[in-house]
């Protein structure tokens, strides 16, 4: 937006916070002082300590995640009054302790340097800082003016589950205004509408474990569609039970992460999903031919016939419909009929145990209709909270233009987003981690949301602002609670109950039910096949950034898309075949044109998309929204027409064709992908389920010639670097070296190790963000972190184009195709493997002997340790690491006075005080969360006991929504990891290099279609 948003803070300052900052930062600062002659920061103790606060010891608060509508349970770790880590609440019914990348990034929303630091008011065409009194007076006056004029005021609220929507409607009613619009650009509204019609609930529970066959009609249940974490937990659990695991078939024009995790892909043309579902329904019922559906979908009849056969054979199955097409509800209803016909309802689809996440969400049509009223000039007061329709609505709606015509606009947003930039008054809301709330993730369970720390800035909780406005201006005030905390206490059954329930995070109860959203007639289109253009335009919600609300968080910007592996950049996904036809190569610019506009971006060649389809992710292309989001990438919503799903009024992301032509220019893709092929290196390995059953687990051809050993267990115990070839390396040797738990020296009784089950891992990348959060890993892709000093690379991701990302753990995504992307013809049958790669903590580590100063060495409990203070930065260790998991501080990412500083105030409040912030010129890598190991060991020592099995785990394992990562002591049989190590699927990567790694991967297991299996 053109208006400047002034975010300077008012004068009342943050003195107390400065004080806390000094306390928390001093740990990190003291370490820095040790190695450089930087200025010394003083450690100031509390004069009188707050209750229950021990400096250096964390407190934990249970609350509810608000990053999407799912409502996962959170445990926030706070240290000295500051939230430093978000983890899943292990007891929460939705996420059971796991947490996705977006949920973990809530902290970067809390500490976002571009947050409003206090209320703002428009003066002279610019938003300037003001006081709460002045801002509230301005709003009050307008409210009084509009009292009772329901048609002239609009309140758009970001949809969230809980009592707030109903509370808001009560408040609006008190002023005689119409109920609010609960807008969620990501909500799968078509599926919700179909679920209501078919199963009677908005969101039934999907039981993946019970199914023998899973068929997804464009439902990206691993990409953030629906209750992402819950679905992933269930899916991975089902797939890990290998003999009973369901086979997965994905139907859709583009293989999303869900599609890549499927065993087969039926690449149906956009718009044909409904025909396919209906034809399958007919086929399952024993009538009709699949020919016409196959033609409409552009797939082979055989593939649909074999699917129909499988559906009849594999009962129960689980069919899930998603997608964002024009008749998505129709597709979902047809799929629901299929589920009913196959007897899946109640078996794999459990309406009784559903979620209430999408109750009360309004249709996109309602927002569009409001925009039309605004454009017509009949709205004179608009209030917006959380949502950002100026960015997330299709370009054809022209929301920003319409919104600008409203006489008086109020925003409760915390961030200077596009919509807020147009507003006259900003009353910044507390972040969800600073405010009270509730949610009902499962019927009858009231999940609580509580402040985990004092507000970072001069913000106020919207609910409390509403209460204050009501109390001052109307008779409604008397009915209002004292504050929103009191209101929540009321829902939880009284203040005493609330206090008792808070440590756990939830209690029995229910939220205040919101009334049904106003029905708005959707605007349907003429059908995708009728629109102009040679290619189908497949716009999809980014699994990382969602509708764009994640774009201001550097952790999410720097998290590679699980499929394309691009970051800080919007790419146009094209199939290599199409690209060849247009003589476009990877990185060449191309222009996508629709009737609404055009977009020019670099091309990413993706073999998992139909050759007649163009894929573009949402989420980027902000024109405001802070330093990390503004001008980064492009917004494909601007290409979309106003076409809504005919029954649910949901926005249709796949509803138009587009023209495509090569544009001038070429840019380096901002990607972490080197080669997306394994080249026979045997890194991510897999077997088919038949091989698994026959015990043919380890193919010799994947090992290097002359290296036959697959007996990996001794490797874990005999890691003496200078005896790699000798007695200790011999699996039959009795002498297991100093790592033998029974070794006479008693040097070590523990051997920290990790197993990663590739049958479970989906590649979602939540572990990556967990690692960033736990280990103070700097993000390096902002333009000022590289572009300024490398004139040949500018813009977002400049450092990443030189592979300088710092992620200690990365997800490698390999396509099992020999050829490199540019010469691959379309073939839907390709396998994808993902493998998390981090420091393998080799027993015989190649990095250790080459370090000239002992900056890396081996600890007796099996860790490969990196001593930051001792490192002089020769980088030899990295050269000698076969796994390439060492990361170097090319710039002073951790030094506040540098342009490349990765944690601008107050982002650095999140830094983990237990982990050193690294200076420039030194090497770093995965430490197996050594700070967590030491914390647990110290705690056990203080309590005069031994470590309990599985007492703690690493950050990646803690977050993993697939539960694929297990960390612990391999030398103690009671730990889970010691049991997992014995799994027959285990293997070491590059075992033949004699590195004796402490990370054991378990083979992925594929489930080929019965037809393919018999053919083989």
């Amino acid at each position: 937006m053109s208006q400047d948003v002034n975010t300077t803070s008012p004068t009342d300052g943050v003195k107390r916070r400065e004080f806390l900052k000094v306390i928390g930062a001093s740990g990190a600062a003291a370490t820095l002082v040790g190695c450089a002659s930087d200025k010394v920061e003083k450690l100031i103790p509390y004069v009188s300590s707050p209750d229950n606060t021990v400096p250096g010891v964390s407190s934990y608060y249970a609350t509810t995640c608000r990053e999407c509508a799912a409502g996962c349970g959170l445990i926030i770790e706070t240290r000295d009054g500051r939230a430093i880590k978000a983890e899943g609440n292990p007891e929460h019914p939705v996420n059971q302790g796991a947490l996705c990348a977006r949920g973990q990034s809530a902290l970067q929303g809390l500490y976002n340097p571009d947050r409003f630091r206090g209320p703002m008011i428009r003066e002279g065409g610019k938003l300037v800082a003001t006081t709460w009194d002045k801002a509230l007076d301005a709003v009050k006056a307008k409210l009084v003016e509009h009292k009772g004029k329901a048609a002239s005021a609009v309140f758009i609220n970001q949809h969230e589950q809980g009592s707030f929507p109903a509370f808001l409607d009560q408040w609006l009613a008190g002023f005689g205004l119409a109920p609010h619009i609960g807008y969620d650009a990501e909500a799968p509204l078509a599926a919700v509408a179909a679920n209501r019609a078919a199963y009677g609930v908005s969101w039934p529970k999907l039981d993946f474990s019970a199914a023998k066959l899973i068929v997804s009609f464009g439902a990206d249940y691993l990409d953030g569609w629906g209750l992402s974490v819950q679905q992933q937990l269930a899916f991975s659990e089902a797939r890990a039970n290998i003999n009973e695991a369901p086979r997965v078939v994905y139907i859709g024009a583009r293989r999303s992460l869900t599609g890549l995790n499927a065993d087969s892909w039926i690449p149906a043309r956009p718009g044909s999903e409904k025909a396919v579902a209906e034809a399958l329904l007919a086929a399952v019922k024993g009538s009709g031919s699949l020919k016409s559906a196959a033609d409409a979908a552009g797939v082979s009849v055989a593939s649909l016939e074999s699917l129909a056969k499988e559906l009849l054979a594999a009962k129960p199955s689980l069919l899930i419909a998603g997608g964002n097409g024009e008749d998505a509800t129709g597709t979902a209803l047809a799929v629901a009929e299929l589920n009913k016909a196959l007897g899946n309802v109640g078996v794999t689809i459990k309406p009784a145990e559903g979620s209430l996440a999408y109750e009360g969400a309004s249709s996109h049509a309602a927002v569009r209709e409001a925009a039309e009223r605004m454009a017509a000039g009949s709205v004179s007061l608009a209030i917006i909270r959380g949502a950002n329709p100026a960015h997330t609505m299709p370009g054809a709606v022209k929301f920003a233009d319409a919104f600008a015509k409203v006489g008086f606009k109020v925003s409760f947003s915390s961030y200077p987003d596009e919509t807020t930039g147009l507003c006259d008054v900003v009353l910044p809301d507390h972040h969800s981690l600073e405010s009270w709330g509730d949610a009902e993730p499962v019927k009858g369970t009231l999940a609580l949301q509580q402040p985990v720390m004092d507000p970072v800035f001069n913000t106020r909780a919207t609910a409390d602002v509403l209460i204050a406005l009501a109390k001052a201006e109307s008779a409604l005030g008397a009915k209002m609670p004292v504050d929103y905390r009191a209101f929540i206490a009321g829902r939880a059954g009284g203040a005493a109950n609330l206090t008792a329930a808070l440590p756990k995070g939830f209690t029995n109860g229910s939220v205040l039910a919101v009334g049904a959203a106003k029905a708005v007639t959707p605007k349907s289109g003429a059908g995708i096949s009728q629109s102009q253009g040679a290619y189908f335009l497949h716009v999809y919600p980014s699994p990382i950034l969602g509708d764009g609300r994640g774009a201001n968080k550097p952790w999410l910007q720097e998290l590679p898309d699980p499929v394309t592996k691009t970051l800080w950049q919007t790419v146009i996904e094209l199939h290599p075949e199409t690209a060849l036809k247009l003589s476009i190569e990877q990185g060449d610019h191309a222009t996508v044109e629709t009737a609404q506009g055009s977009l020019t971006a670099p091309v990413y060649l993706y073999i998992g998309i139909r050759p007649d389809t163009i894929g573009i992710a949402t989420g980027r292309g902000h024109t405001a929204y802070g330093r990390y989001a503004k001008d980064c990438g492009f917004n494909p919503m601007l290409l979309l027409p106003t076409v809504e799903d005919a029954r649910s009024g949901a926005v249709t992301l796949v509803s138009t064709k587009a023209g495509l032509k090569k544009a001038t220019g070429n840019s380096r893709l901002v990607t972490t992908e080197g080669s997306g092929r394994q080249h026979g290196r045997g890194i991510a390995r897999a077997v088919s389920v038949d091989q698994y059953r026959k015990g043919e687990l380890h193919e010799e051809k994947e090992a290097f010639v002359g290296q036959a050993s697959t007996a990996f267990l001794p490797g874990l115990r005999s890691p003496v670097a200078n005896d790699a070839q000798g007695e200790l390396g011999d699996p039959n040797s009795k002498n297991k070296g100093q790592y033998d738990p029974n070794h006479w020296s008693g040097a070590a009784k523990r051997r920290w190790a990790m197993t990663i089950d590739l049958a479970k891992c989906t590649g979602c990348s939540a572990c990556v963000t967990a690692c960033y959060a736990e280990n103070n890993i700097p993000t390096v892709g902002a333009p000022w972190q590289g572009g300024q000093v490398m004139p040949d690379r500018t813009g977002f991701g400049a450092n990443i184009t030189r592979s300088r990302e710092m992620a200690w753990i990365r997800l490698e995504r390999y396509f099992e195709i020999d050829r490199e992307p540019k010469d691959v013809e379309f073939n839907p049958d390709f396998e994808t493997r993902v493998i998390p790669m981090m420091c393998q903590h080799c027993g015989n580590a190649p990095c250790e002997p080459v370090c000239p100063v002992y900056a890396t060495y081996h600890s007796p409990d099996g860790l490969n340790v990196q001593v930051y203070n001792r490192c002089v930065g020769t980088r030899y260790c990295s050269n000698n690491c076969p796994y390439k998991v060492r990361y170097y501080n090319w710039f002073g990412y951790g030094e506040p006075d540098r342009t490349q500083y990765a944690f601008p105030e107050p982002l650095h409040w999140q830094l983990n005080p237990d982990v050193t912030v690294r200076g420039k010129g030194i090497m770093e890598k995965c430490s197996f969360c050594v700070q967590r190991i030491k914390e647990a060991e110290n705690r056990a020592k203080l309590e005069q006991r031994e470590l309990k099995p599985d007492e703690f785990t690493s950050a990646c394992a803690q977050a993993c929504p697939s539960r694929a990562i297990i960390f612990g002591d391999a030398a103690d049989e009671q730990w889970s990891v010691a049991k997992m190590l014995k799994d027959e699927r285990g293997y070491h990567v590059f075992e033949d290099l004699n590195t004796y790694t402490a990370v054991v991967y378990l083979l992925k297991v594929n489930h080929p279609s019965p037809a393919a299996a018999t053919k083989a």
Partner: protein, 467 residues
Amino acid sequence: MATIAQPSHDGPRRPNIASANVQLPAVKDYEQVDDEILATLVPTKKWFALLALAVCFLMVGIASWMYQIHEGLGVAGYNPPVMWGVYIITFVFWVGIGHAGTLISAILYLFRAGFRTTIYRCAEAMTVFAVMTAGLFPIIHIGRPWKFFWLIPYPNWRLLWPNFKSPLVWDVFAISTYLTISTTFLFIGLIPDIATLRDRCVNPVRKQILAMLSFGWRNSEAEWRHFVRAYLFLAAFSTPLVLSVHSVVSFDFAMALTPGWHTTIFPPYFVAGAIFSGIGMVFTIIIPIRKYFKLQHYVTLNHLDAAAKLALFTSMVVGCAYIVEFFIAWYGGVQAEQDYFWNRVFGQWWWAAWIMLTCNMILPLSLFSQKLRRNPSWLWILSIFINIGMWFERFVIVVPSLSHEFEPWQWTTYSPTWVDYGILLGSFGWFFMWFLLFIKQFPVLAISEIKEIIPPKMKGKGPRGGH
């Protein structure tokens, strides 16, 4: 080699016996030697201009380095996992150049190769300055250059020692030893010449300094006896260093697991390459010197011819090593190694590999022709190609290996930035600055040794008296 002279067995061993091929027919007597060679010490405008240019290059290098220290190594073109780049390449390049000097002055001395006489001083000075240049690069290369002394084993209250298993620590010893010995060797060889300078000097201060540097050389029989002993001892002492230093440098690579590095052929291969590059640099330097100082009758075509044969021989050794590397990659059957070598020659890095093969293996074959061996212009052009080729040899070893390792996900590319180029340029500025200063302070041809190979003036035969 044809030019290796037979040592004389009668009387005390003399350092050099002239053979027919290396005699200097145009040099008549000792005075002519003194006059002509000392005439090169007079500063000229051209010399000042060249020195100014070298200092400018050095300034560019210093500025680039300061910028890099301030901002971090990110300003250089590193592209992980290519964690070593131009600086390590240039380090090995300069260490390699430093080899020819000691080879020529020490090994050829022991072998009584007469052709070394006129070129060894130049080569030896080149060695010292090349090693001085090379020694800077590990410091420029590391992330925290202000901590480089941690690589040196010095007693400290933390009782921390460097890791003696690390080849980088071996480098510290190898380079520092080599620099010490080659500097000493250069200086010892200079003593009689410094004495000559002292005798002719008129500036009292300068005379005093030269007198100190010459240790009061009086040209006595005893002094000569000690001198020859010391020289022989140092020559014998330096000889194994020629082999060991570059072997140790090659261990930086050979001790690693990295495909393309992990090979036992590296020590001999690196030594041969180092000598080859050193002789290339000798040509680069000596040919202009003989032309502009008009010393063609000292550094004769016969000398150049002999040195060119040495270049041809080492080029063939290096070429043989290239071929053996490919053979072993195929024969070893390690897939990562095979992929890497394929990628080196026909993949991503084909241009670098072919520059290397053309300059180091193919072009030097022209030296089979005697005509070209005796053509200084061609030798000079070829030497430039050899310098480029040898720089690229190290490029091909360092960069493609790291960019194409075991992990396909981490395969990358590499392109240096202006900072890399600036520091590379600065290293040439640094080297030539010292060299240019040297040639105006000390005779670039060894006066005393040249006097040994010209026929001594007999009484009454010449227009002037004897020495």
